[in-house]
């Protein structure tokens, strides 16, 4: 297996060498986007670790600590989400996540067949369209379904009122059970997402291309005359978006 790994890496390297002249460094992930991405990544891992301890899956932090850390991380996550929403709307980046069904078949074909024969990516990555159709679909589902379910069920979990006295019976919920079950289901969905997401990072031009891009913000992108892609300076790019 390790033999194949070396071969694989080498072949990709060669492929990169061959094509590098036609590609250009493009500033694709801006600093807030990267900050948001990595903070979110850390928080999701931390929330998963503490959350599954609260769920009774294992003992690590200690139960009370797990609950308290989970709550603090949850607030942090909500604040982060608030900033991210603001950023997405103020920059217009939210449009990146609008699902599109054109090319979706080609994209599926690429992951199922083409990727093994070194076929080119069916969709080109540009500053205005960073996500391929499958990514758009999955991230869209995350943003409108999974994350809201987690936030809403999480807040209800925190502020859930037991059947209690005190004159606000209307606010009482009979049971935390449905809340907890939605929250757990969402957690499993997020973990499955992370597994696949971590793997798909390696399907870029080179196995490390996507990772580097999310760290530095820069990625080599194929030049295309018909579309204005290169915008190494932020100012230029901002203008492009405004147009």
């Amino acid at each position: 297996m390790s033999f194949y790994m070396v071969e694989f890496a080498y072949s990709l390297h060669q492929k990169g060498e061959r094509e590098i002249k036609m590609r250009k460094q493009v500033y694709i992930y801006r600093s807030f986007e990267r900050f948001w991405h990595w903070t979110q990544a850390f928080l999701i891992f931390f929330l998963a670790a503490t959350g599954f301890e609260v769920h009774g899956s294992f003992v690590f932090f200690g139960y009370q600590n797990a609950v308290e850390y989970h709550n603090v991380a949850a607030y942090a996550f909500i604040i982060l989400i608030a900033f991210a929403i603001f950023w997405h709307f103020s920059t217009g980046e939210w449009k990146q996540y609008l699902p599109t069904f054109s090319n979706i078949k080609a994209q599926i074909n690429f992951y199922l067949v083409g990727i093994f024969s070194n076929a080119p990516h069916p969709t080109k990555k540009t500053v205005l369209s960073k996500l391929n159709p499958l990514q758009r679909l999955v991230y869209f589902a995350l943003k409108v379904l999974v994350i809201p379910v987690m936030v809403i069920s999480g807040l209800l979990y925190m502020f859930y009122r037991y059947p209690q006295k005190g004159g606000m019976a209307g606010l009482n919920l009979d049971s935390v059970e449905p809340i907890a079950l939605f929250h757990t289901a969402g957690a499993f969905a997020l973990i499955a997402f992370i597994v696949v997401h971590l793997y798909l990072i390696t399907t870029g031009h080179k196995p490390t291309t996507n990772l580097k891009a999310m760290i530095t913000g820069y990625e080599e992108i194929e030049e295309d005359d018909t579309e204005k892609t290169a915008a190494p300076k932020e100012e230029t790019k901002a203008e492009t978006i405004e147009k």
Binding site: H55, Y63, F116, I191, A192, V195, Y199
Partner: protein, 523 residues
Amino acid sequence: MKKIVIILVVFFLAIVSAVLFLRTNETQQPLTVQLKEKYSKKHIPSVDHSKFTSLQKNFAHPQEVTEACITCHTERHKEVMKSNHWNWEREEYVKGRGIIHIGKKNAINNFCIGVEGNEQSCAKCHVGFGMTEALSGYTDSTNIDCLVCHDNSETYAKGSEMGGAPDPGVDLAKVAQNVGKPKRTNCGVCHFFGGGGNNVKHGDLEKAMFEPSKEVDVHMASEGVNMSCVDCHTSENHMMKGKMYSLSSMNRNRSSCEQCHTESPHEASILNEHTLKVACQTCHIPVYAKVNATKTEWDWSTAGQLKNGEPFEIDDKDGNHTYLSIKGSFTWGKSLKPEYIWFNGTADHYLLGDTVSDTSKVLKINTLNGSYSDPESKIIPVKVHRAKQPYDPVTKMLIQPKLFADKKGEGALWKDFDWVRASDIGMTEVGLPFSGKYTFINTEMTWPVNHMVSTRELTVNCIECHSRNESRLAGLTDFYMPARDYSSIIDSSGKWIVILSILGVFLHGGVRIFSASKRRKGN
């Protein structure tokens, strides 16, 4: 742009640290310090009873002492005669039954079953003298036993089977001159020995509580705050706060932890949230019967075996009776984990004369009401005492047998070992029919555990309840509790989705690596 990011990061961290700071900075607990100071103060009596001439004489009868008390404390006897310590009953409202009068006087339990017919022996723990017959019509105030509760000389003792009169060896003048606020010994002499022996009934009230260590009881520890019973069980006009739901029914006049500690005594709000649904005792009394064993099972059906015509006893290695010819077989338990129930402060009772048709179910002698969805209910720790006790299969009633008599031939079970005759006399005495047939049915009594509060370090941990397999609350299934409960559908499908994702990723990755190497070889 960089500036904005830096501002955002700083702002973000500021919020997170503020949240953390505010959470941990609630750590001030002057309340417990204040309470420690308050209850460590030694009580200084306002009078010295030995200086009163009316007490400096030889008392021929204990009633003369009471008369002497009343000459100064002119109204107190009226208070005592209204109290349940005297009446052995309270007026209670029970849903479905209406107003009932219940107390030691007429209640049935699954230890020695009941008082009626056995007064002369049981009166050893009554605050009066001369209780040779039934309690009703017992109205002579000079029969009040002031001394049993107020003796501070620790020399007073009631005689056995004397209807509540003091032991003839007691120096009444000495005791009368040394009266004061009740001490642990005054309460403990009865309340620690209920059921006919140390710790038989309660499990959390026993002779170790005379001088407990901090591990046994953090409040009463002699080397600690050294609190007495009446520090919590305060009284007003001889009405004590607190009662036991083996006899009580209504949610009133309860002695509680909150009366000193408030409803939110913890540093961590996550713990204070628990107090809404979990009683203090649930976490703070991890085990009871810490020093000496308590009775957990009592099987009356084996009573009456004789050796050479004589009753006998079998003891375990700790000296606890495991068999007595007069009472049957027992099981004892030490350092027990309580059982847990929902409780809203109200209880129902089996009352003499109630008929029970379904004997396949365990009969609850007392039923403590409550459920998760009841806003008044909290989870409390309880001792459950299980028994097999006599039952009339024809009248469908529990049997109150006559147990005690001075001598053989009077039909008492403990002398003559004849269930039919003892049942007949006993039931006649309480005015109920007896068919002549008897059998034994399974019964249960629930005793809330309120004492033997442990130190903070020994408090029940989160995961002793919030746990999949060994939750202390495994028996309370009417609510969802994190870590204990889960949906097996969601958990197993969730696990499989994650496992399949991992497998899929490895398969896909493997094929990529394999095909890449093949391509390279092809080149």
